[in-house]
């Protein structure tokens, strides 16, 4: 069957599945809309969390990042998984015991301060919006590349799907669709990886193949090191960046992950405190299946690419691939602009080198998207990759939109402006906020602002420097009071934002950067993306110092903290 027809069928089937779930899992109360009625089994929640967490970037871009950065990109692997250890031990069980609906609500109650709650809402909205723009772009790209549908049309289709199940079902609908989306995306990711691993190393398990050997008996990674060094690049397995930066970058991603509201609220959906602990483990099981496959895909795809464009020795005049003899996948991806060849020396050969003589530009996304074609897999696998990329983008977008919508309807409207709103009124407000959030996200997807590419720095920087410390101190330090928390959060955000803007331009406006964004200008070699960890440290320090010199929190707050520390007495959703 024609690839495009097949892709339409596969993607259409998955969409029909999501719609079916939406109709079946409608929300009838705010408890269901915000927290799926707190009846989700910990394993099911783990699966939903995995889909919620793994975005278009994880699915499409991460393996490519690793392929081109080698060892240095390990920080994404460790950083985006290590946060679950922190969630399981430092945040999720206690926040579940607290038993409310949003992250700013905990901050507002614990620090008995509307200011603290509003600061948290602002951080949440900025971090989530930045993040959701990336997903919207991913949806549009998947449609335009695989289905050859116009980008705008693709985006509208994606928005309509999310609208249907997120507005109808809230957290309940989102949870069940995320479970289905996880199944789609993990199949789409692992099937091509299994085949490539078999072809290259003879081992069907990519995780083992990565540390296995290629046909001639050389270990895969040794072979890859030699190959890229021959082309003039540095060794794949060697460290290129600074150690301090790598440690802080990893740490920022870890505490940022633990502090991202759309991830935290997933743990409000399980029935018990002990389920919140195990559910974080299950989430990491499902995430690790993809995250341990990614480095294998990266190394194998890189080796395949290098061998394709450089079949012969480097020194030989006919060592590089003849452009006229290029394979079909090469032609396909040239059309998308993700692969571009410029014959600088006019010899008709594709010379992939480091530096100015390089003639081949490879977009990192190709490493996953073109993988099945490079491995000559059947068309249905390619169709599945399209459906998988869409599942990854849609599931993350829905989770983010719910976090935004609930902080508007629950924190701002019910919490601050109209506390006497009825349950029915709040549910309606939640649905309207959700619809509004989808519209805003769609608009920003079509007209991406300059900072769209800065998702990692901005979202993780904010979550790491403001939300994570506020939550952790709220649970582990009874002495931190309202003034301390607000001063701490503002110190964390301000220092992190100023550092990011210093090198990337004020509010990311081009030309306003105070210094060129490179390692020689960075403070102690710390990149803007890694600064969230420093911001968090400043937040902790400021909050504890200020709390020491001001009055201790009132007794009922101290009792509240004692109460969330023990599992006993956790009930269902508190309607309030």
């Amino acid at each position: 069957m024609e690839l495009q027809t097949l892709t339409f069928i596969v993607v259409g089937l998955t969409f029909a599945l999501y719609m079916g779930i939406a109709v079946w899992a409608r929300a009838s109360s705010t408890g269901e809309f915000y927290a799926a009625g707190r009846g989700i089994h910990p394993v099911a929640n783990g699966m939903a969390t995995a889909a919620d967490w793994m975005s278009a970037a994880s699915f499409i871009s991460m393996a490519g990042l690793i392929a081109f950065q080698g060892y240095d990109a390990s920080l994404f692997l460790m950083g985006w998984t290590g946060g679950y250890v922190l969630l399981a031990m430092l945040l999720a069980p206690y926040l579940r015991k607290f038993g409310k609906f949003t992250v700013p609500e905990f901050i507002g109650d614990r620090y008995y301060s509307q200011t603290a709650r509003i600061v948290a809402v602002i951080c949440l909205i900025v971090a989530s919006i930045t993040y959701v723009i990336g997903q919207m772009k991913g949806i549009g790209v998947a449609f335009s590349r695989f289905l050859e549908v116009d980008f705008t049309t693709g985006l509208f289709i994606g928005m309509a799907i999310v609208f249907f199940y997120a507005v109808l079902g809230g957290m309940k609908g989102i949870t069940y669709t995320q479970i289905a989306q996880y199944c789609v995306l993990i199949m789409a990711y692992t099937i091509p990886a299994i085949f490539i691993s078999l072809q290259l190393t003879g081992n069907p398990i990519p995780q083992l193949g990565l540390f296995g050997s290629v046909a001639d008996g050389t270990p895969l990674l040794t072979k890859l090191d030699q190959t890229v060094v021959d082309l003039g690049f540095s060794q794949y397995t060697a460290q290129k960046g600074g150690t301090l930066n790598m440690v802080l970058y990893t740490f920022s991603l870890m505490i940022g992950t633990a502090g991202l509201p759309h991830v935290i609220i997933r743990f409000f959906t399980v029935p018990k405190v002990k389920d919140a602990r195990s559910s974080a483990g299950w989430a990491l099981v499902f995430i690790s299946i993809l995250y341990t496959t990614a480095p294998a895909v990266a190394a194998m795809a890189m080796l395949n690419l290098a061998n394709t464009v450089q079949p012969g020795p480097i020194a030989a005049a006919d060592g590089a691939l003849e452009y006229e003899a290029r394979p079909q996948w090469f032609k396909n991806w040239e059309k998308t602009g993700l692969l571009t060849f410029e014959d600088k020396n006019g010899n008709g050969r594709v010379e992939y080198r480091k530096g100015d003589t390089n003639e081949l530009k490879v977009d990192r996304d190709i490493m996953v998207l073109a993988n099945p074609e490079i491995a000559k897999l059947p068309n249905w696998v390619i169709a599945l990759v399209a459906a998988g990329g869409l599942a990854a983008a849609l599931s993350t977008a829905a989770g983010l939109l719910l976090a935004i919508a609930s902080s508007i309807s629950h924190d701002l409207l019910k919490g601050i402006f109209k506390p006497d709103i009825s349950e029915k009124g709040e549910l309606l407000a939640a649905r309207i906020s959700m619809a509004g959030a989808i519209a805003v996200a769609g608009y920003l997807g079509l007209h991406p602002p300059g900072f769209a590419a800065q998702t990692v720095a901005l979202a993780f920087g904010l979550a790491a420097s403001s939300i994570f410390p506020a939550l952790m101190m709220g649970i582990f330090n009874k002495r931190v009071n309202n003034t301390g928390a607000v001063v701490g959060m503002l110190t964390g955000i301000t220092s992190t934002l100023v550092y990011i803007f210093w090198f990337k331009g004020w509010f990311f406006i081009p030309g306003t950067a105070m210094a060129a964004n490179n390692a020689s200008n960075w403070f102690l070699g710390i990149s803007p993306e890694a600064f969230g960890a420093v911001g968090a440290l400043l937040n902790f320090t400021a909050a504890i110092l200020v709390s020491k010199v001001t009055a201790e929190p009132p007794e009922h707050i101290q009792h509240m903290v004692e109460d969330i520390r023990i599992p006993k007495g956790s009930g269902g959703a508190t309607g309030h």
Binding site: L77, V85, P93, G212, T250, P567
Partner: protein, 87 residues
Amino acid sequence: MSTQDTSGMAYWKANVRLITICLVIWAVCSYGFGIILRPMLSGIAVGGTDLGFWFAQQGSMIVFLVLIFFYAYKMNQLDRQFDVHED
């Protein structure tokens, strides 16, 4: 009520001790073996590269998983021991 309070305190202390142990292992395996101590481990070969690379791209994630389930298991025991478990 006072016995409840002291048992709550003891429970919290036990919890914090367990978290500290887990997070030390968490840090040593990822930041330690995966990054800072990698040069020291470079002599130990694993599948065409060294142990530090394995920890950075695979091992640390396995350790994280084991840690969470270990913590969840131990906490279920502590919950019962200090009589603070649910239902």
